[in-house]
């Protein structure tokens, strides 16, 4: 992607890109990473806690508690998104709040809320996967390819 862009640039443009870069405010990578680490870690720890609640009080094993846990995390993410907290958390934590499933929920829920002014069918329905759609698409397709290769491999080696 970056290479193809460079090819189209005139020498003057490349020179300007370098020139401009010295004035750019650098992204505070280390600070961002520390914030992402703590917020992301905390969200996972809360997730762990929720999954123990499901193990302790309901009929879920460690294996099966993952599903209700992510559903609960997404539910919390809906509330935080609706009350306008998640976007601020996102600005603070970056990937720390985007990478956990709560971020996946946030991308779906924020798109749904945003487009309700265009009606429920065309607005909410048409835009709800605006951001999460690519994650679902590539997740499903790559999983299909991986599972297909693995199944064929297992069949050939007689594992199945």
């Amino acid at each position: 992607m970056a290479d193809s862009k460079k090819k189209n640039k005139t020498p003057k443009q490349q020179q300007y890109a370098k020139f401009e870069q010295q004035f750019e405010t650098k992204r505070p990578v280390l600070k961002n990473c520390i914030k992402a680490f703590f917020v992301g870690g905390l969200i996972c720890m809360i997730g762990q806690f929720i999954s123990y609640l499901y193990i302790y009080f309901f009929h879920f094993t460690e294996q099966t508690s993952g599903n209700p846990t992510s559903a609960t995390v997404i539910f919390i993410s809906m509330l935080l998104t609706g009350f306008g907290i998640y976007d601020r958390l996102g600005q603070f934590a970056g990937a720390g709040s985007a990478v956990p499933v709560s971020g996946f929920g946030n991308s779906i829920i924020s798109a749904a809320i945003e487009h309700r002014t265009e009606g429920f069918v065309l607005g909410v329905g048409g835009n709800i996967f605006k951001l999460a759609g690519s994650v679902i698409l590539f997740g499903v397709f790559s999983a299909f390819v991986v599972a297909l290769i693995k199944t064929i491999f297992l069949m050939m080696t007689g594992g199945l």
């Binding site: 750019e24 990937a95 924020s110």
Partner: protein, 337 residues
């Protein structure tokens, strides 16, 4: 009168008789609250969509400007305005309600000065007696179209800018009404589209700086003036990064400006502690700061001559996704009192 390659001189001195500025809550918490006419404490402003709120801002600003001059929409020949939303609907819808013959402009964030230059030109040459011109933007409506949903928790890098919620409208006329000293436009330089190959939509200041520098140089060349002629040169929405880049670019081209006399609307508008990253931006940025703050300062005698250079990034979400670079433009208008 055409001067040089791309500049007009307005010898009849079209006057900015009155202005109207309406802003949202975030701007109301900024530096220039006292200069705004209408302040909303809610982004929705009682409407059912952000786009409607956007339209309302412009309508309120236009009505305020008319009221301050004791004019009715019928007394105004033309309405020249624009915004950032697809097909500039908020402006066109406002024009529907105003019922003034209308030119819709799109110059991204440079629309305010594009409109002021055209309005001054019309008034100067007798094409109109009174012209209403302005620009507006609404943070949430623009974010929705250009970036992510407003509630999406994406992290904005420090080079990003904050779209202003606000509208600024000025009434340009050949009839100053009374003896009060009023600001008037003296010249305008229309910029050309410059693309220096930057493609990051979260760094518009850096992309727009060359356009601003190009227009400023052309302005001084065409009008045979010196930077010292102006008390203040203000750019529209370059932000911290763009402002510094533009200063350095001008210096490289042999035009050194006093950095105290080179300001940016996007930086004037907000307080240090407001989370706007590199500064404000949007079509409403230069419009609210000029028609609200700067003209008041001129009337108070702070500045006698200013040059306002509004910059615009002519991108769309589509071109960004198609990996196109960002073409930019800048228009300059000089105002004196």
């Amino acid at each position: 009168m055409l001067r040089g390659k791309q500049s007009w001189e307005f010898s009849n001195h079209p006057v900015i008789r009155s202005t109207g500025v309406a802003v949202g809550p975030f701007e109301a918490n900024g530096n220039l609250t006292a200069d705004f006419d209408v302040i909303h404490d809610d982004l929705w402003m009682g409407n059912t969509s952000y786009e409607q709120a956007h339209r309302m801002l412009l309508e309120e600003a236009a009505q305020t400007a008319l009221k301050k001059s004791n004019l009715k929409p019928e007394d105004t020949q033309f309405f020249i305005a624009g915004d950032l939303i697809n097909q500039i609907t908020p402006t066109s819808f406002a024009a529907r309600d105003l019922q003034i013959p209308y030119f819709g402009l799109f110059g991204a964030c440079s629309t305010s000065m594009e409109g002021l230059a055209l309005a001054s030109f019309m008034v100067n040459y007798g094409g109109a007696n009174n012209v209403l011109t302005g620009a507006s933007s609404h943070n949430a409506a623009v974010e929705k179209q250009f970036r992510y949903p407003t509630e999406y928790g994406g992290q904005k890098p420090p080079t990003a800018q904050w779209t202003v919620t606000g509208a600024g409208v000025g009434l340009i006329t050949n009839n100053p009404l009374n003896d009060e000293k009023l600001p008037y436009t003296t010249s305008a330089t229309i910029g050309k589209v410059i693309d220096m190959g930057l493609a990051d939509p979260f760094n518009m200041g850096g992309a727009m700086a060359p356009a601003a520098a190009d227009t400023i140089l052309a302005h001084f060349n065409d009008l045979q003036k010196d930077p010292s002629y102006y008390d203040l040169i203000v750019t529209g929405d370059l932000g911290k990064i763009g402002r510094e880049t533009a200063l350095a670019l001008l210096k490289e081209k042999g035009l050194s400006l006093d950095s105290n006399k080179f300001k940016d609307c996007g930086l004037l508008l907000y307080k240090e502690n407001q989370p706007v990253q590199s500064g404000g931006s949007g079509a409403g940025c230069s419009a609210t700061v000029l028609y609200g703050h700067l003209l008041n300062e001129m009337k108070n005698g702070m500045y006698k001559r200013i040059l306002l250079v509004a910059t615009g990034a002519l991108l769309s979400p589509l071109t960004v996704q198609q990996n196109e670079t960002i073409p930019c433009i800048a228009h300059a208008v000089s105002i004196e009192i």
